[in-house]
């Protein structure tokens, strides 16, 4: 098979499969934060700041997949 075709399929798989787990994790953390804010509205500032930092950490996993996909598409050493 053509290496370019393989790397395109690899990039698609990296983004498609790699974004499933971060999506589930972000959904869970936002749901938990909503729950906590509903119980304790006076702590909303602290909770939402921690939520943003945590979401950034989780989102990094998805961004790693995106970077791998970009490397495959634009800087692939095997498909010159």
């Amino acid at each position: 098979m053509d290496p370019k075709l393989i790397s395109i399929i690899g990039a698609v798989l990296a983004v498609a499969v790699g974004s499933i787990a971060p999506a589930l994790a972000e959904g869970r953390s936002v749901a938990a934060a909503m729950d906590a804010i509903a119980r304790q509205p006076e702590a909303a500032g602290t909770i939402s700041r921690t939520l943003f930092v945590g979401l950034a950490m989780i989102e990094t996993m998805a961004i790693y997949c995106l970077v791998i996909a970009l490397l495959l598409l634009f800087a692939n050493p095997y498909a010159r």
């Binding site: 500032g45 930092v53 950034a56 961004i63 970077v67 634009f74 800087a75």
Partner: protein, 221 residues
Amino acid sequence: MQGSPLTSTVLFHLGPIAITRPVVTTWAIMIALTVTSRLVTSRLRTQPDGRQAVLEILVAGIARQIEEVIRKDARPFLPMLGTLFIFLVAAALSGVLPGTEAPTSKIETPAALALIVLCSVHYFGVRARGIRGHLASFAEPKLIMLPLNILSEVTRTFSLMVRLFGNIMSGGFVVALVVALAGLFVPVPLMALEILVGLIQAYIFTVLAAVFIGAAAGGAK
């Protein structure tokens, strides 16, 4: 359609050094921020006028956020983190101007900013605990954690860089794709979303830098 997001356009050469578009944009942002700061802080009074009131709200807001994260007096950290935040906001907003790209959407600028954060973490750590105390903090809670602590220094700097680059770059890329596919006014909501993402990423980058500095300076105890 733009080219690869991993390379950047060379505008001109300064001797042997190629000057790329993000570098020129960064220079423009630096000049604009410096001139604005000089103008705004030139005539400070105890009775603030409108301009100075906005400035005070901004600076006091950033200082309060830093204090809530680090749980220490924010004044030693305010120049570094405040400048970082304002530069990141300006960089993200420069991405929606016609003819420019956000300098943070190329990998070099986030790499430089993450290195600045890495250096300042160790600077503030050494200043707060002394060089022996700072080195000893790598062997916490046990000596066996030393390789993992050193590894986490590298990976968190790398993830700071990749997070900022990935978020800002993917926004610009999606807008360029939609322009190529659909036409002139279709990507306007996406660009609005990009402004929001840029502001959130500036906030996250600054808060994470504050968290790392706070952990190194021992403020969380």
